[in-house]
Symmetry: C2
Subunit: 265 residues, 2 copies
């Protein structure tokens, strides 16, 4: 099982930011990535629909013999992780726990802003997990649904994105947040713009980095870590394929995605 691939899935190609972090930390692991681009976005859909899609996604990966699965989508993690972990026996790691760990890694954190899809914010998964771990934390969570299409349009420094950030973030900044949690795997591409936009001193937390560390810890504990030192391969499967998705894959992965195949779930 140690040399079996790791499965990673998302509603689209945003989860490739998590792939990138995992590849950097665990360069020996083979990765099979599934992006359900035919049915994206998940973020605005109902919990029932998201759970149904998530089970179909994970079965695709299990059929390919993966040893563990990373749910590289905050919306799926928020609504479906317990249901997935209950049904399947291999390790299944989401992105919310890593986000929470990363936020709390700084003991001085007092006021946390969270931006995410409507589905993730509405699930209260982040708010609940944070409130359970640290008493007295002040949390401001805002759905920021337009940031996904803006990132997908590659408008990473556009007045339209700037205006959207004002609407979403000004109220949080006014309330004095010290930390901004990026609760969607699309948002890391906005980090350069956010650094210019936010007042200095606000820490930006990208759960993808901590997620890769948790994956490493889980695989180590379960004795599933690939013993090689490098050479891991990446296979990308999308349920819908277009030039735009190929371009976006390059953007999120920050290098060529290789040959992408279209699959039916």
């Amino acid at each position: 099982m140690r040399t079996a691939p790791l499965g990673i899935f998302d509603s689209g190609v945003g989860g490739l930011t998590v792939v990138r972090a995992v590849q950097t930390l665990l360069p020996a692991e083979d990765i099979i990535y599934l992006g359900d681009t035919a049915r994206l976005p998940y973020g605005s859909k109902s919990p029932e629909t998201i759970r149904q899609f998530a089970h179909e996604d994970i079965r695709f990966l299990l059929d390919r013999g993966v040893k563990a699965v990373v749910v590289a989508c905050n919306t799926v993690t928020a609504h479906a992780l317990p249901s997935l972990q209950e049904q399947y026996r291999i390790p299944i790691i989401g992105v919310i726990e890593p986000g929470v760990v990363a936020v709390l890694s700084d003991p001085g954190t007092q006021r946390v802003g969270i931006i995410a899809t409507r589905g993730t914010v509405g699930s209260h998964a982040y708010q609940h997990a944070l409130a359970q771990r640290r008493t007295g934390l002040i949390i401001h969570a805002t759905p920021a649904p337009l940031l996904v299409p803006l990132v997908e349009e590659n408008w990473l420094d556009h007045p339209s994105t700037h205006a959207a950030l004002h609407t979403y973030l000004d109220p949080m900044v006014d309330r004095g947040i010290d930390t901004l949690l990026l609760g969607c795997t699309h948002y890391p591409l906005l980090v350069p713009m956010l650094r210019n936009f936010l007042p200095p001193g606000i820490r930006i937390v990208d759960p993808a980095l901590t997620c890769a560390e948790l994956v490493k810890a889980d695989l180590t504990r379960e004795e599933l870590l690939n013993p090689a030192e490098s050479g891991g391969k990446l296979e990308i499967h999308l349920t819908d394929l277009s030039e735009q998705f190929e371009d976006l894959s390059r953007l999120f992965l920050a290098r060529s995605p290789g040959r992408i195949s279209r699959v039916v779930l």
Copy 2:
């Protein structure tokens, strides 16, 4: 068959702008509406995927005994209308032909701007149909993918939408368009903002209005028009249901949508 319902479908709830136009012109017709909200948007997906979804959508309506179908989605019309018309025997009306008729209804039209989804623009369906009908017409078509999520966010007068309109429309205005065709059923909600944004004298064409007229002409010719004068009922079925979709339905229909049911295709 005259009293059978009319089927109307779209990838989401934008097609309700067409429902509204049909109800106004044909108040006696019962309408069964299907919005494939679980898999929206279609506009950024590949032609194969769009065709597959369209066939599944229309079969849902045919199973409910509709006498004719309106494809209230430009992307589906652009990629799948001929394939649908070939396979099924009832009248199937798209939104592109009405858009073309409406543009050409003014004999003075010379320079036409088209905004639509990436799928619709990439299909060249509008450009081809216009060029075939009138020689010498100058056509500027631009994908405007962010306008759908901006409308769905109800940001109908927001700086972010304003900035997006600048990016999409400034080049067309600079080229002196006299007509702007709204090639997506979401865009009619932007008309008030567009009137302020565009220089005076540019005609805005919403295909939904002409579409309703073509539906009436088709039903009359096929002797399928409901003989009553009013009392038509509307049934809305969505493949995913959430508070957001209910709110959006109200927005697009400009009145209460009644009870919406969730269906599986």
